[in-house]
């Protein structure tokens, strides 16, 4: 499509809207003054205070453990679900199954959180680390399923048929051929699941218990008391981690892209 003169303006305004609040937040985490509006010079004191805030650090540790564990289980389950959706032409209850995969993507978090809490209470489980992990696994696996599904839809099935034709049994074929080739999507799914878990306030609030306060719950309770530069500091660190992760991932995919282009050049030379 032909671009219009207004396109750069639209994009500039749009991205300014998306990024300026985050940039301001990062800048003010280095503010020496406690007031949000007054710049009191550069300082790292809020990072020091954050570091010595035991409650905040404990919450960060809980959150990291929940995120790694739920993202990992969610990735396994989500990949299986994606295979079921794409590879199985029909099985009993497939409509219900795909409904259960898509619904959590849009379900208001208050509903998911409340219903899971009531389940845990009904079966008499003590709420805490494991209940949050199960809750996060349940909704992140659906995101993983969607990401992996879109990769599987473009997967050339004759690769698997070729492997079986050459004597490789079905399960081994999955691990030797399919999995290595869909791995980028699986990793992307894991990263998405990890950040969603890291991010979640509402579902965690419902399903957590004593001793398993996650970072968003901690941040939320402090934010309700007012804006503090300490929160800016921890937010900046989170933003930094996520940015590094996303940029690294995209650079890695760019490198494979470059390698692909180079390969094509080699191939062209080889054929001429």
């Amino acid at each position: 499509m032909k671009s219009s003169r207004f396109d750069p303006v639209v994009l500039t305004l749009g991205f300014a809207f998306l990024y300026i609040p985050i940039i301001i937040l990062v800048i003010y985490s280095f503010n020496a003054s406690r007031l949000v509006t007054v710049w009191g010079g550069f300082s790292l004191q809020w990072y020091r205070e954050m570091w010595s805030n035991q409650g905040l650090m404990d919450a960060a540790w809980v959150t990291a453990r929940v995120a790694v564990l739920s993202a990992s289980i969610g990735t396994v389950l989500g990949t299986m679900a994606a295979l079921a959706l794409v590879r199985y032409a029909r099985f009993p209850g497939k409509t219900l199954f795909s409904g259960m995969i898509y619904a959590p993507l849009v379900m208001p978090e208050v509903i998911t959180g409340l219903s899971l809490l009531l389940l845990f209470v009904a079966v008499g489980v003590d709420r805490g680390f494991w209940t949050v992990t199960i809750a996060h696994t349940t909704f992140t696996m659906c995101y993983v399923a969607i990401v992996v599904q879109s990769r599987l839809l473009t997967f050339d099935r004759s690769l698997e048929e070729a492997a079986q034709d050459l004597g490789c049994p079905p399960v081994k074929t999955f691990f030797k051929i399919t999995l290595p080739l869909i791995l980028p999507a699986v990793v992307a799914g894991w990263m998405l699941a990890f950040t969603l878990s890291l991010d979640d306030l509402v579902i965690a609030s419902f399903t957590t218990g004593p001793g398993a306060t996650t970072l968003p719950i901690k941040i939320y309770s402090q934010v309700r008391l007012g804006v503090t530069p300490e929160i800016n500091a921890i937010c900046t660190i989170l933003i930094g981690l996520v940015t590094i992760g996303v940029v690294a991932a995209s650079l890695a995919s760019k490198r494979t892209e470059l390698r692909r282009i180079r390969d094509e050049h080699v191939a062209l030379r080889g054929s001429s």
């Binding site: 295979l83 795909s98 259960m100 849009v106 991010d199 937010c235 996520v242």
Partner: protein, 302 residues
């Protein structure tokens, strides 16, 4: 030829692939809904769990069923607070979705028309804020919109506002709209972009060639072809916004009525679990139609 893709030979592993996620979702997604439905029909009690009746064994099933009633739902319809919450949530979600479309569509279109080599970067720039915490992004706006916040400082500095005046946005519906649009913009832009990007550019050239001016070509060609993206984006935003809690809680004022907030207060504030459950069940009923539209759309794509 639907079955052409299924190999006729597969062992038990084949069924495990379906069964494991299936059972997980039945246990942790469907079963909770049945429980929430049951509790919404129970009475409040000062105990743990704070509701009766509890189902103990199978002997008491008849007894148990006879104690269930629609009291909580009756209460919801009697108290105007709840009805207003639902209506207000739907209104807020609708206005936000329209705003998101108005802002998101030009962005998505500009991205789709950008040079090919720029597009992956642009997509990444839209996704990046989405990867940073929701809570953090809402929090960032508090610092800007507060009466003594950065927006006031900025407007005073450029002389649009007197030194005694302050911006009165924080803790109003306007702040909630800003927060929602800001938080959900990537969810709107990405499906729109996906629909616009795969569109064949020669279609517009053909329309122009046949004498259709560019603006008319947009309405006759581009927009109708992007409708699946519009529906997907609108549903992905509308449904969760209706039940949104964090944004109205942190940016909204006392008069901001949203059902997610009401549910939260019933549950954590008043500890009225049965009533909170009834609120959730009704919310789900309200959202059934948009969720069905979304599901259909997704299954068509899948």
């Amino acid at each position: 030829m639907a079955e052409i893709s299924t190999s006729p030979h597969a062992g038990p592993a084949r069924w495990l692939v379906v069964a494991v996620p299936y059972v997980w979702l039945l246990l942790f997604f469907v079963a909770p809904f049945l429980i929430i439905l049951k509790i919404s029909l129970s009475d409040t009690a000062i105990a743990m769990p704070p509701y009766t009746p509890l189902l103990d064994g199978f002997g008491g099933i008849g007894d148990f069923l006879s104690q269930l009633d629609f009291e909580n739902y009756a209460f919801l319809t009697e108290d105007p607070l709840y009805i207003q919450s639902y209506l207000s949530s739907l209104r807020m979600a609708f206005i936000s979705t329209v705003l998101l479309l108005l802002i998101g569509y030009p962005m998505a279109l500009a991205m789709a028309r950008a040079p090919t080599r720029w597009r992956p970067t642009l997509v990444m720039m839209v996704i990046l804020p989405f990867w940073t915490s929701f809570l953090i992004r809402v929090y960032a706006w508090i610092g800007i919109l507060k009466p003594e916040g950065l927006l006031t400082v900025l407007l005073q500095a450029i002389g649009l506002m007197g030194p005694e005046e302050q911006v009165q946005i924080y803790r109003t519906d306007t702040a909630v709209f800003i927060g929602i649009v800001y938080s959900y913009l990537p969810f709107m832009v990405l499906p729109l972009y996906a629909a616009l990007e795969k569109m064949d550019g020669t279609l517009l050239e053909a329309a122009n060639d046949l004498g259709c001016p560019p603006l008319k070509a947009f309405w006759r060609i581009t927009f109708p072809l992007s409708l699946p993206g519009v529906i997907a984006g609108a549903m992905i935003c509308f449904i969760p916004i209706t039940g949104e809690f964090v944004i109205p809680d942190l940016l909204g004022g006392a008069e901001t009525l949203m059902i997610g907030k009401t549910l939260w207060t019933e549950f954590f504030g008043n500890r009225d679990w049965p009533l909170a459950s009834a609120v959730a069940v009704l919310l789900l009923l309200v959202l059934v139609v948009p969720i069905m539209i979304f599901q259909n759309q997704q299954q068509k794509v899948g």
